[in-house]
Symmetry: C2
Subunit: 557 residues, 2 copies
Amino acid sequence: MAGAVANGAGSGGWVPRPTNPMVTPLLTDLYQFTMAYAYWKAGKHLDRAVFDLYFRKNPFGGEFTIFGGLEECIRFIANFKLTEVEIKFLRSAMPTCEDGFFEYLSSIDCSDVEVYAIPEGSVVFPKVPLMRIEGPAAVIQLLETPFLSLVNYASLVTTNAARHRLVAGKSKNLLEFGLRRAQGPDGGISASRYCYMGGFDATSNVAAGRLFGIPIRGTHSHAFVSSFMGLDDIIDRTLASSDGSNKCEDFVSLVQNWLARIKGAGSLSGTFGETNLSELAAFTSYALAFPNSFLALVDTYDVMRSGVPNFCAVALALNDMGYKAAGIRLDSGDLAYLSIETRKFFRAIEEEFGFVGFGKMNITASNDLNEETIDALNKQGHEVDAFGIGTYLVTCYAQAALGCVFKLVEINKQPRIKLSEDVTKVSIPCKKRCYRLYGKEGYPLVDIMTGEDEPAPKVGERLLCRHPFNESKRAYVVPQHVEELLKFYWPGTSSNPREELPSISEIRSRCMAHLDRMRPDHMRRLNPTPYKVSVSAKLYDFIHFLWLNEAPVGELE
Amino acid sequence: MAGAVANGAGSGGWVPRPTNPMVTPLLTDLYQFTMAYAYWKAGKHLDRAVFDLYFRKNPFGGEFTIFGGLEECIRFIANFKLTEVEIKFLRSAMPTCEDGFFEYLSSIDCSDVEVYAIPEGSVVFPKVPLMRIEGPAAVIQLLETPFLSLVNYASLVTTNAARHRLVAGKSKNLLEFGLRRAQGPDGGISASRYCYMGGFDATSNVAAGRLFGIPIRGTHSHAFVSSFMGLDDIIDRTLASSDGSNKCEDFVSLVQNWLARIKGAGSLSGTFGETNLSELAAFTSYALAFPNSFLALVDTYDVMRSGVPNFCAVALALNDMGYKAAGIRLDSGDLAYLSIETRKFFRAIEEEFGFVGFGKMNITASNDLNEETIDALNKQGHEVDAFGIGTYLVTCYAQAALGCVFKLVEINKQPRIKLSEDVTKVSIPCKKRCYRLYGKEGYPLVDIMTGEDEPAPKVGERLLCRHPFNESKRAYVVPQHVEELLKFYWPGTSSNPREELPSISEIRSRCMAHLDRMRPDHMRRLNPTPYKVSVSAKLYDFIHFLWLNEAPVGELE
């Protein structure tokens, strides 16, 4: 079976199938198959084509992007093979096409496709190819839509996660809570994976935890709280102590005693009256189920008058039994104010009852959080330790799509260009090499693309970097370090060693390291400095030669 | 196997698994499992709970929403069963939970769950339950996240598609081209399905065509055009005529002759000079492959100076051989202007060469289209027959998420309410019935929710409809027609007949019929009139009784 051959190709090992079983060769636009037929009819299907996959503009008003989705692309091509059922469907969809074409389709795999790519999790910039894909024209066209579908959202949401990490700071816990609001089930699963890659600490999504080994987190919802009518709902009231040395026969009474003591305490008396008993029952019940990790959602009825005092009563009762409560979650209202008031309450508990550390109890905040609200919270001051972020993160609400494209840059060793009245849409022709040049202070200075046969930039040697389309923008650079960006990920017929696919935590570490390495002004939220992307002088000249050659000359009337 | 029993339950037939194999019981938030454990520990897991699934606000600044995703929810519960592997993972994720709980989890299915829902494809409004789900508290919680994940995006993108249909008008062809920009692979597949449901005519997505029987469309890309160097690339130049009666040995020359004739024609001379030969070769080659359905992308080099004349030369040559070209696609530039100029060119061809109907040649437009740009094109005037819409449609760029929620409204026959400082977030308690009341002119007037045991509104009988939270907003209505909204879709232990799941084209027809039936001022793009959603006087009183009962009383200091 040819697919199996392709999968084992080069020096790398076997590559598993795409995570989502729906990712098959039919997950593509019909025109990829109609073009494949037209190439086949014209005898051009084996023409050796080189395509670049790149994006034109950084998302979210920023000046950087994180590349995600590479592993899924490699899994896709490693297992690329049309089944008989799929071929049968294509025959019915393209009834005028000749039989020979479908025989050809049955035969193809990606064993003669070469993929170079920037490692997943890298900081990347517009116009520089994230992937360079080379192989038979008809086959490469069939990869266009699946690759874009696998890279576009992955890179967008990884970037969004990284931006949330940057604004929240390194010390905060970031939890992805987006499954229910994501764009469909694997929007949710992809979001969990790529948000972790972009710097989140955990997800609520159990399936993603299982698939990718991401830490999972979760406690209870408002419905759990309101499902309790009162303390009578709790039948089994016993709780063994943490070390097993004793047993509390009536944990409910212990909680009630603590609630009375809190109410009576000098610094706390008068801050609340009767707390909600459904809520107290729900918290007590949850603590009986999870005495080691009690974290309560405190805003079902009223945060300061009910949720927080009820939580503290249960936490203090747990403490009597040798357990340490985990904290609270706020899911509505003014999070800055409520977190500060809650912190004061916790500190007062610490003081009143000599409970060392209670003041530092974890406060998690959720409810429609995004980059802007976290930034606003930072400016106002708050006492939140962890942010649970859903909708805005996973749907990339601020900008729901990244415009990655897949453009032909060479065919049969002839460079090709795609023109447009909009200069930002003109493609950069030629099979290229790409380098990142670092300056004296260790920051990346500029990315440069060159023709494939040009010599690589050398450390310490002055080099002219030109804007690809604006003749006046150019600069000399003397790099202190030169990094070739495109690595070899899929071997075609070559036997050269290919890059391993790293684990998700290795990719996450690369991403965090890359973010740390960038000059801060490129990364700031407001008016970030654009990072420079350039071409060599030779490539610049060639682009403009080809452009003039292909563009029709107008006739003024 | 209990799952199999559940699947065959009631009078309905067997229900297939969810379309996406990744939709499993683990596709949920961890807290659903931790809550299930706490319910189980408290002996509350079998408490009979009723949850409503609803949204709070119509998307896209509009005053209506289309409900999508119901069939996938029914497929999910029909096949709900945790596998041993899944249980094993849960054990590792929740190591402090007792064995008995995992035995309980192994045993559950949805055979005692009842689902009432509004039919998929219906026009729906905020606060009215799209689905009412009843069953054991622990099981229903496990359904929350998957149901939201299956309904939120489905409803959002169906609504977006319907809005595009409304602005484009009934006569235009609408093509969904979004796969490459969708939020992940099944974002793309779901988009194709639900856009068709919301009124699109076809998709470019082959997998969606195969899965759902949606018509698929596609021709060629810019890369296909630029992959040709010139006419020498075409080896086999023969073309048999449509009726098989003769054969053209050199179709390329026939095309070149036509190009020369167009250039020489009085009304066309001077509008263009030398056209791009790569493009001419690509068009000719594509026509040789698909002589019956030749549609050319004309903007790779220059629409009016190259693409359109090249297309016309090929179309006229095809006509000589008995074939009718299908049209052109514009993918950049000023689509209003270019479509009008192209139409003029087509009409001039019709005149010059007496080619009846050439002036009506199909013009498809694509390139970052959305509701606003189509509206702007309509206002400017244009000659576009079909719109290909991608990014903005499938990612719901204007509003990337719909905030469906899943709220407990009753447990063990006790009504429950969820309070919030934000009144729009207060839930409407009680197991409810929902009706749509129609007026004299046949338009829906108002939706009303009542307690389960209240008598249904009667035709011709005056009824007070109250805003659920604003005491001053109320109105008497005398309905001319009363429609009960929630139908019986999943039977629990009942043997009552359940609704069949209709085909996608039946759902599409319902959606189109519902859109037609609405009063136009609710549907317009600018300042639409809100449709009224109300509760009965009795339910109003009960909501406010419960609210006062649950809210803590403040103490002013």
